[in-house]
Each structure stands twice: as C-alpha cells, then as structure tokens.
C-alpha cells in the first residue's frame, strides 16, 4: 500500500522569533559595535533575524564585566547559592523547551525531533548536573577546597549550539567562574535566548555574557589578557591557532575539536541495531556527530551494507520543523559546498558512491544520505572530517586490523563497537585511541560522563567529575597552579 505521512510541521510561532537580537553584556542587552549580521534559516535560505555583533571594545567591556562580577559577587558566593541560580536556569530551560527546540531547528537546520528529544533535554541535564556539583566541589577529588579560575572565555560551534553553550556555562558557573560566550556565527539565536533565561533567573549581571560575531570576535576574546581560561569547541585548525595564542601565557585551555569517528561492526553484531546505530551516527544531525567511517568485518559486509542502504533510503530528508523528518538541512552554504567537494573527491579517487533516492526539497541546503564503499584508507573521504551525511565504508578481517584502521587517523574523538561479545568490546575499547567509545550504541551523551578527544580532536575533558578540573585551579591537566 502506498502510504505517505502528511506534513506535520511544528509552528514557527513557538520560537518567538524576534526581528533583531542584541549582545548580552553585564546583565543587559545592548547593540554591538560592529555591523549586524543576518542569521539564515538553512532550510529555506530566508533571513530569520538580524543579529548584533561584537566589536573589539565590546569584547573588552564584556570581559571587564565578567571580571567585576567574578571579584565582587560570584567567586565570593557560597556554592549552595550558586547552585540555586543554576537550578533556576535549568528549570527555565525546561519550561521554555519547545521554544528553544523550534528556534534551534530554525537556526541550525536540525530536525525538530532531534532538537526536541536530544539537544534541549541534554542541555537542561548539563545545567542540572553541574548545579548539583556547586556545593560539593570539595568532594570532587580535586582537593578539599578547590578554587575557581576567574573569567572563562567560551567559543563554541554550530553543531549542537544550545547544548554546547550549556556544557560550558554549567561547569564554569558551578565552579565559581564567570563566562563570556561567543556562539557560532551561523547559530547564535539559542545562546541569546539562554542569555535571556539568565536574566529571567536574576543571575547577577556580568556572570554570563554572550557576544555574537564571527571568527574575529572569537580571536579577540581568546587573546584578551583578562580571560583566565579558554574553552573552545570547533575545528582543529582554529584550535591550533588558539593553542599558539595561549602558549606561554599560563592561561588554561580546553579544546573540543574535529573527529573522524569510526563504527566497528563485528560479524556477531546485533545486526539490525547495528544498522540503526550506524545510520544514526552517520546521517542523523546531518552527519555532524562526526562518525563518518564504518569498519565492517568482511564476512558480514554484504549483508550489513544491503540493510544499511535499505534503512538509509527510508530516512526522510526535508523540512527540519516537520516532526517526521529524520535528516534536516546542512547548516550553511559553505558547509554544503565542502561536503559536495569531498564527496566528489571520493568519486575521483575511485570509491563507489551510493546515494539515497529520497526526494530533496527544492530550496535550502540539503544533501542526500550517501554511502561510499570500496574505500581505501588513503582516500580523502577516509581521512578528512566530512561533517555531512556521508559514510565511508572500509572492511577488515581481524580485530587487530579493525583497531589499526580505526586508530589510523590524526583525530580521536569517538568510536563505536558493535558485537554481542562483551570480552571483545572490552578488548577493542582498551586499544582504541578515542575519547569516547560506545558499545552497541552511538551518540549517547550524559553529563556525568567525561567527553573529549585524543590528538587533533582536542585536549581536556568536559562533563562528569573529571570535567570540573577544567574550571578549577588544580594541577591535573598541565595548568599553572
């Protein structure tokens, strides 16, 4: 029977979209000193709102405000009091969850199902988790009375805008630091609503400041001498620049950078769930989960790939606000061009391309789920971060070969293992150089689990007890104190 789902879009109205957004500095929304930019809906290429951007003097003002708030209020406040603010912010995030979810989908292009069921609840969970730590830092394993660092400068990416903002603000505030946050140029809106929520929660002025803008604003913030700690989420290239900027200054740094994650499917994998997990890792969030390699044992390769293509072909690509959409829009034109270019390189280097026959919308930045087989480790699609719904499939024969191929990348953010055999999971996990290794699942985030990368995927950990170290004056990751 031919049965298609009618469109079931969430209403745009829920997002409470405003015609223009401003900087949030010292507890107030103000115009920025630079030319405002326009934030674009990647699904329609329409302008969503005008967003003020920061100038260098705005950066200075914000850092000074954060410093004042740190010296006079926040660092002196007992942990239990800081916790109250964080709990309040977390609750308001939950109360305004639908608004935040729709806004995130509009600004970023990810499907509403994902922003509603993953991003926003996970952001609230980050805030709740860290709120709980604020009065218990003496029990975190970092000494009896660990001290905060001061002003934290956070520069974040566009793949999980609200979630990353919460994952920086949560631990920073819980540990007694104040924050200047720069959201990504293409996805500033939910961070600015989070600022509004801070205001609504009556957070003291200057504790959280949000400065929209491009790379220049990020660079100015990172280089500002008043910033004691930098937390960056983004590409490896910029991460390296930041590391150069901070070298020798004694200022603390954590980096959460690119990845070239691999799912490893053994012949005893729970095959239907493995297919589902690989599809989720590679195509959901339009491939921004950074798992674009599949290593499959040769003995099940054909069977698994047949199922994988059948499942991927059933994914619904389209309007991010439609509740039945599985794969939304690519975040920007630049990004789409890069994905297209890398996929073309796959063709040119001799890999076999399969593209989902799903219909694509006429307008907007969309890319159909794509699987490359006959990929060799030397090809660009096997080495470079694609950041789109493109999966490169390699095969292996032995567990040793799987580990060697999975580790053969300058990155090391995450990996997945699919096998029903527990001892094999553990054997492989011990040998993988990846910050997170998932077994029979992929892309599960929990604020209690530290997240971070090896090598060019970054340094330091976020989340959990370990993640607190990045915001405390303790000496376990190369800090000065």
């Amino acid at each position: 029977m031919d049965w298609s789902y009618d469109p079931a879009p969430e209403s745009r109205e829920i997002a409470n979209l405003k015609p223009s957004y401003q900087l949030f500095v010292d507890g107030r929304f103000t115009d920025g000193g630079s030319e405002p930019t326009k934030s674009v809906d990647p699904a329609t290429e329409e302008v969503l709102a005008e967003v003020g951007t920061a100038s260098e003097s705005d950066v200075d003002t914000a850092v000074q405000a954060a410093r004042r708030a740190y010296d006079r209020v926040w660092s002196r406040m007992p942990g239990a009091e800081r916790a109250k603010y964080l709990f309040r912010i977390a609750r308001i995030v939950q109360q305004r969850a639908r608004e935040l979810a729709v806004l995130e989908s509009l600004d970023n292009g990810k499907p509403i199902r994902e922003s509603r069921d993953v991003d926003v609840p996970a952001a609230a969970a980050q805030l709740f988790h860290h709120a709980g730590w604020a009065d218990k830092l003496g029990y975190a394993g970092h000494g009896p009375d660990p001290r905060p660092l001061g002003v934290a400068g956070a520069v974040i990416g566009w793949n999980f805008p609200l979630l990353t903002a919460a994952a920086k603000i949560g631990p920073a505030l819980a540990c007694g630091n104040t924050v200047v946050l720069k959201p990504a140029e293409t996805t500033p809106l939910t961070a600015l609503v989070l600022a509004e929520i801070c205001q609504q929660a009556q957070l003291p002025p200057g504790v959280v400041n949000v400065l929209p803008g491009g790379g220049g604003v990020g660079a100015a913030l990172v280089a500002h001498p008043g910033v004691d700690k930098v937390a960056f989420t983004g590409c490896t290239e910029v991460g390296k620049q930041i590391q150069r900027t901070l070298a020798g200054t004694g200022r603390r740094l954590t980096l959460e950078l690119g990845g070239k994650g691999a799912n490893i499917a053994f012949d005893d994998a729970p095959i239907d769930q493995a297919v589902e997990g690989i599809v989720n890792g590679a195509f959901v969030n339009q491939g921004r989960a950074r798992c674009d390699r599949l290593l499959v044992q040769e003995s099940i390769a054909d069977e698994l790939l047949d199922r994988l293509r059948a499942r991927a072909a059933a994914l619904r690509v389209g309007d991010p606000l439609d509740r039945n959409t599985d794969v939304g829009a690519i975040n920007s034109r630049d990004r789409l061009e890069r994905i297209t270019q890398l996929a073309d390189a796959g063709d040119a280097e001799g890999a076999q391309r399969w593209t989902s026959p799903c219909p694509l919308p006429q307008r907007g930045f969309f890319f159909a789920p794509t699987v490359f087989t006959d990929v060799s480790p030397a090809m660009r699609i096997a080495r470079e971060e694609i950041f789109g719904p493109v999966l490169a499939v390699l095969t292996f024969r032995t567990p040793e070969e799987a580990v060697a191929k999975a580790n053969n990348t300058p990155y090391g953010l995450s990996a997945g293992i699919w096998t029903e055999k527990g001892s094999r999971s553990l054997w492989v996990a011990q040998r993988l150089r990846a910050g997170v290794v998932w077994a029979n699942t992929y892309n599960r985030f929990d604020p209690t689990a530290p997240f971070g990368g090896y090598q060019e995927s970054g340094l330091g950990r976020e989340g959990g007890r370990e993640g607190l170290a990045a915001y405390l004056a303790v000496d376990d990751d190369g800090g000065r104190r």
């Binding site: 789902y5 239907d272 509740r323």
Partner: protein, 319 residues
C-alpha cells in the same frame, strides 16, 4: 491467499534436517540488542500521522482487525452478533470496510461460518489447547481437525513454550509441521506467546522456527497473558518476516495480539510495519491486529476525522 509452502532454499532446508542442525541454525541467528531495539521502537512511535494519512491508516487498520472473542461465556448468539459487526463495523456509515476475520474457539466456528457465509471475512479458530498449549499432541491435532472440519479458514495455534524454553526446538518444529498438515490448506498462524519467552533473542529464534515449520503468520500472544503484544517485540518479528522474504521470496505475516486498544497504538504499529518490513506489508494479507476493543476506538476516531467532532462511546455498538 496461497498457503502452499514452496521448497526451502538449500541453506534453510539444511537447517531443518535434524534437531542438531535446527539448534545450530537458531543459535546462530544474529542477536538483538534490547536497548537499541527499544530506542528505535520508541523513536518510530513519535511519528506524527495526521490528516489524509491518518484517515487512510484508520481504514487500513479496520481491514486488518481479527475481531476476537475468546471467553468461556461465548455463545452462538454472541458470535453471530460479532459476525454482524465484522461485516458492517459501522452500519450507519456504509463506507467503512469490513474486518479481516472473526477469531473464536473451535466449537464456535460453525455459527461463525454460518453467519459470515457469502462474505470474504475469514473465520479464525484458536486451537492446540489454547492458551497454554498443555495437552497431548493427539488432543491438539484433534482440535485443529475439529476447527478445520467446521470450516475455519485460519488456525491460530500456540507453540509448546515448555519445550521451546527447555531447548527442545525439534519437538516444537515437528508439532508445527503436524498442525500445518492438519490445517489441510487453512491458513496457519503460530502464536509464540512472547511474554513467556526469554527475551528478544528468543522471539527471533521462535519466529524463525515457526516460519521454517510452515507458518503463514507469526503472532505475538494469546492475549491471555501480560505482557502481550509490544512494539519492540513486533519490530523483531517484522524484521524476521522481512529477512524471510529476502531468503525465500515468500511473504509471511505478523499479528500482534493483546493490549492494542486505541487508534493511536494501532497507528504506531502501522508505522512500524511501514518502516521496518516495508509498504508491501501494509495489507491484511500480511498484517493483522488481534483485538476486540480496538475496532470501536477506530470507528470513533474515523468519525472524528470525517465529522470533526467526537461522538462518544455510546454511539458505537458495544459487543
């Protein structure tokens, strides 16, 4: 509907050669990861089916209902009233399709057949010492013969869960094949009673076992036990019939039974059928609901869709 069992491909024929091969085959099936399965089932259950697609889903679900009464208190007159409902579920609205079948105990088959003569609605009979399956093989086969002789076009048998759980797969296989023969061409649905099996791996094994032995349909439950049908269990069974078709070219069906009471539930099952097995399974030939209360909710929701308001339970016949 063809109830012929074509010869199995060599690889599967080998699996049924003897007890040891069968055991080896069933134990060698890929495992099911419970966490992943349940997460997928929950995600697909969030599909939002509205407007025209909802109207279409409701009519499809009505066509898939096996209208069931399996009570000690059943009488021929009750069966006749159920048969009337099966023919015209909503007599005031002639456009409503008929259901797929009426499902009764063996001694109620004769009145059901008489009441449904001239229609294309099937008469399904439970058999083989339903619901427990605890009797001798002779008694079970005699019961199947009773139902078939009385005119049942479909037989819903239960597997011997005791033998299955004890690992005596050969015994279960043999019993199903004997029941299949006793069906003499009637359609065979095999009830796995998944609530008594040890997890999803067992559901997959029992599903394959039933299909290897000649089942036309695999059915989740008797409805006499909780948990009855669940979405994740139905996902596993849909995966098996999909894989079975790839291996043999034959399309078999799935019937969740028990606990499906609302239109919302039914639509979630249809979404699972659509996205796990594929659109070809969206037909009463390959998917059924074993239910009694579901039909009335479908009828009420159908009226809401067409008339724009809810009319309440007193406006559909209770039976």
């Amino acid at each position: 509907m063809s109830t012929q069992t074509p010869a199995l491909p060599a690889s599967l024929a080998d699996a049924t050669r003897d007890d040891a091969s069968l055991r080896c085959f069933l134990r060698g099936l890929p495992g099911v990861d419970a966490v992943g399965l349940e997460a997928t089932a929950a995600t697909l259950a969030t599909r939002s089916v509205k407007q025209e697609s909802k109207r279409k889903a409701i009519d499809t679900a009505i066509r898939m209902v096996d209208l069931t009464t399996l009570e000690g208190a059943d009488t021929p007159s009750r069966v006749r009233s159920l048969a009337a409902k099966a023919r015209h579920p909503d007599p005031e609205r002639p456009g409503v399709p008929a259901v797929a079948a009426v499902c009764v105990y063996p001694d109620m088959v004769a009145p059901a057949v008489a009441a449904l003569s001239g229609s294309s609605i099937g008469v399904a009979s439970v058999a083989t010492a339903f619901p427990s399956g605890r009797s001798s093989r002779d008694v079970k086969l005699a019961e199947v013969a009773l139902a078939v002789t009385a005119g049942a076009s479909e037989v819903d048998m239960v597997i011997d869960r005791g033998a299955f759980l004890a690992g005596r797969y050969g015994e279960v296989y043999e019993e199903i094949t004997l029941v299949k023969q006793a069906c003499r061409g009637s359609h065979l649905k095999v009830i796995l009673e998944t609530g008594e099996l040890a997890g999803y791996d067992d559901v997959r094994r029992a599903s394959w076992l039933a299909l290897l032995a000649g089942a036309n349909f695999i059915k989740t439950s008797t409805g006499k036990l909780s948990p009855a049908a669940t979405l994740p269990v139905t996902h596993v069974m849909l995966q098996v019939v999909r894989d079975w078709q790839q291996r043999t070219g034959v399309q078999c069906g799935v019937k969740p039974a028990g606990g499906i009471r609302t239109t919302k539930d039914a639509i979630r099952y249809l979404v699972a059928v659509h996205e796990v097995a594929g659109p070809e399974w969206l037909t009463p030939l390959r998917f059924r609901f074993g239910a009694s209360g579901l039909l009335n909710d479908l009828l009420m929701q159908r009226r809401v869709q067409l008339e724009g308001h809810y009319s309440g339970a007193d406006y559909v016949s209770q039976d």
